[in-house]
């Protein structure tokens, strides 16, 4: 789960990281009021969960409260990469002398949290990594020891930070690590961390990605989820415990298991079709889940055929078959459905499908070819 910039910066601030004065507005009038309260030039920043907000025109300066209102009116409602701007952050504009990158990420290869710093702040760290990798200094934190002072100093000296800022930077880097661990983050970035006109360090932008597996114990952070940002379909899928990702093809897929679901998408492509989605119904899926999954798939008007691929290891095929038949009977299904199921009670399962005139196949490649043909209107 992603946090908005304003949410991320508030988390950092709880750990003592200095952030600009600011508040969130949902209307131009609110933006004006916030700017009045700040009493200085402000920056109006769209709060949407995509990168490249600045380039898209979603971040603008405003010298006066009147201007803040006008700018906010332009940015609110703006479309940025398919997301509508519902909120803006009105921050006191920083007088930026220099920009630093500071980030923490879970390094799966090292099995440790990596803390990275660079003198090249304000741009995507991937760009720095590609063009001037020597400008990124990285330390790995031992999970049982936590981030040590010397590691933070390694970063500070490594990026050539002026001496007067080393102590403040060290505190911020250790705060970032604590915020990362306490929040169960998988990524936490301050970019840029600026040296401002008062010659102080300040986190001007922030980003946190949370580990979804930890959300049950991170209730406060989990409650920050912005459901405006998810499609209704993704929200519905999450609520019933289905992993669903919308793609732009025409064959809807329902598969049990993430690896098999990805492989099924790959095979569809191999045989000249294109998958409309990734969908993993998970293990032991009963009739209710099958029904929910089918409803989700069919909501996508581009879907011209549905491929259901179930490898019933412990899941029994007859139960899944009953679920499919039940789902089809209760939904208005206008596209062909191809079922492939293998595993425990597969014969009973196929009989149930045959009784309802549903085509089924034994081999995965055969089923995929049937679905691809069906999507092209060549009959299943």
């Amino acid at each position: 789960m992603k946090l908005h910039e304003y949410q991320s910066k508030r988390v950092f601030a709880q750990y003592g990281v200095p952030i600009p004065n600011g508040e969130v507005a949902t209307t131009p009038a609110e933006a004006r009021a916030i700017a009045e309260q700040i009493g200085k030039p402000v920056v109006i920043k769209s709060q949407v969960l995509v990168g490249g907000r600045g380039k898209a025109g979603g971040i603008k300066l405003a010298g006066t409260p009147e201007e803040a209102e006008k700018v906010a009116a332009k940015i609110l409602g703006m479309d940025i990469k398919g997301l509508t701007v519902q909120k803006v952050l009105v921050d006191e504009a920083a007088d930026i002398r220099s920009e630093i990158y500071l980030g923490a990420v879970l390094d799966r290869g090292a099995r440790k949290v990596a803390i990275m710093a660079s003198s090249e702040g304000g741009v995507e760290i991937e760009e720095v990594a590609a063009e001037t990798p020597e400008k990124i200094i990285t330390v790995h934190v031992h999970p049982l020891l936590g981030m040590q002072g010397y590691q933070a100093r390694q970063l500070a000296y490594g990026i050539g930070l002026p001496k007067e800022h080393v102590s403040a930077f060290t505190k911020i880097a250790q705060s970032l690590y604590r915020a990362f661990v306490d929040s169960d983050a998988s990524l936490a970035e301050i970019n840029p961390l600026v040296i401002n006109g008062d010659n102080r360090l300040q986190a001007v932008d922030g980003k946190i990605l949370l580990d979804d597996s930890a959300l049950p114990r991170q209730k406060e952070l989990a409650a920050m989820r912005d459901s405006d940002e998810d499609s209704p379909t993704e929200t519905e899928a999450r609520e019933v415990g289905i992993s669903y990702i919308d793609l732009d093809g025409e064959i809807g897929c329902m598969v049990n298991g993430a690896g098999l679901a990805m492989a099924t998408m790959d095979i569809i492509k191999l045989y000249g079709g294109s998958p409309a989605n990734f969908l993993d119904i998970g293990g032991g899926a009963g009739a209710d889940k099958v029904l929910a999954a089918l409803r989700i798939i069919l909501r996508d008007a581009r879907v011209k055929a549905v491929l259901i691929n179930i490898f019933g290891g412990i899941t029994r095929c007859d139960e899944v078959a009953n679920g499919i038949v039940e789902a089809i009977n209760s939904l208005n299904v206008e596209v062909p459905i191809v079922v492939r199921m293998v595993g425990v009670n597969e014969d009973e399962g196929r009989q149930i499908l045959a009784d309802s005139n549903l085509p089924s196949a034994n081999q995965l490649s055969e089923a995929v070819q049937m679905a691809v043909a069906a999507a092209k209107g060549e009959g299943a």
Binding site: L106, D184, S213, G257, A263, I267, G313, L364
Partner: protein, 289 residues
């Protein structure tokens, strides 16, 4: 012969009184696995499926039954505690089925486990099976058949798919190890490949990878430089868009790292035969016999 589990496996089931634990304990017993004990705090002195004695602590279970392998079916909030308890009690091989364990918990647990002799498989994995001998996992036993192909995979049902295709062609398996889909886990491709390379009963290996991370590239390095046995691979997620998590916490392409194309290229450079779909693995494996 096989790796990791065999006739000498004495299995402890942590969480044996839960619905998952009880169901799979019974399935494993039916397959012929030597299940010697269960461990559930507060249930010590009871008997679980198949007349299996239940102990309050793993230490007691090990002291009484000489359990040398443990399988964990406890909820995510308690799973790390359970696997640390097993390691502390001297269990040699720990298989953690539980999914949705926070990654930072696993980072801490791995850091501790590395200071012990215990081996961990998982979490978020189907477990492992040496067909005809011992099943320590949740896979359907009947699709497997004994033989000489070693299998290592990050996936669950995709592995069953491959094994189903192998068995259909009459190609048996020495051991099939599901290492799990999480970013931080126990045994990795590299560890399991090294074991298969040493195992006299394994003549060739099938590797099933997916997008995310660089474990397949690390494996490719080992295959190129050290491995003498032929390897066939399939990488899932060739059509997955970047930045999207595909069900498994580990299956995400980020920062240009972990795409299927990168992995396939590294494996091809190491002389690995790449299957375009799971059924093709069986065809390619047949050519190595």
């Amino acid at each position: 012969m096989s790796i990791l589990v065999d006739n000498g496996t004495r299995l402890l089931v942590q969480g044996i009184t839960g619905s998952q634990g009880a169901f799979h304990a019974e399935q494993m017993i039916q397959y012929g696995t030597n299940v010697v004990a269960g461990a559930v705090p507060g249930r010590g002195g009871q008997w679980a499926v198949g007349n299996t004695p239940v102990f309050d602590t793993v230490h007691e279970a090990v002291a009484t039954t000489d359990a040398n392998t443990s399988i964990i079916f406890v909820p995510a909030a308690f799973a790390v505690d359970a696997l640390l308890e097993a390691a502390d009690a001297g269990v040699a091989l720990i298989v953690c089925i539980t999914e949705n364990i926070p990654a930072l918990d696993m980072a801490r647990a791995r850091a501790y486990l590395d200071s012990t002799d215990a081996l961990l498989i998982g979490p978020n994995c189907p477990g492992l099976i040496s067909p005809g001998t011992a099943k320590v996992g949740i896979m359907a036993g009947h699709i497997h058949t004994p033989g000489n192909v070693g299998i290592v995979s990050r996936s669950g049902t995709l592995t069953y798919e491959v094994i189903y295709a192998l068995t259909a062609r009459g190609i048996g398996q020495s051991t099939a190890v599901g290492i799990g889909g999480d970013p931080i886990k126990g045994l990795n491709f590299l560890d399991v490949l090294q074991m298969f390379e040493q195992d006299s009963a394994t003549e060739q290996v099938v590797l099933i990878g997916e997008i995310g991370g660089t474990d397949e590239q690390v494996a490719a390095d080992y295959i190129r430089t050290e491995m003498t046995k032929p390897v066939t691979a399939f990488i899932a997620g060739q059509t997955a868009p970047p930045g999207k998590r595909m069900g498994h916490a580990g299956a995400i392409i980020s920062g240009g790292e972990g795409t299927a194309a990168e992995k396939i290229e590294a494996l091809q450079d190491a002389g690995v035969a790449i299957a375009r779909h799971p059924e093709e693995i069986a065809e390619l494996a047949a050519q190595n016999i």
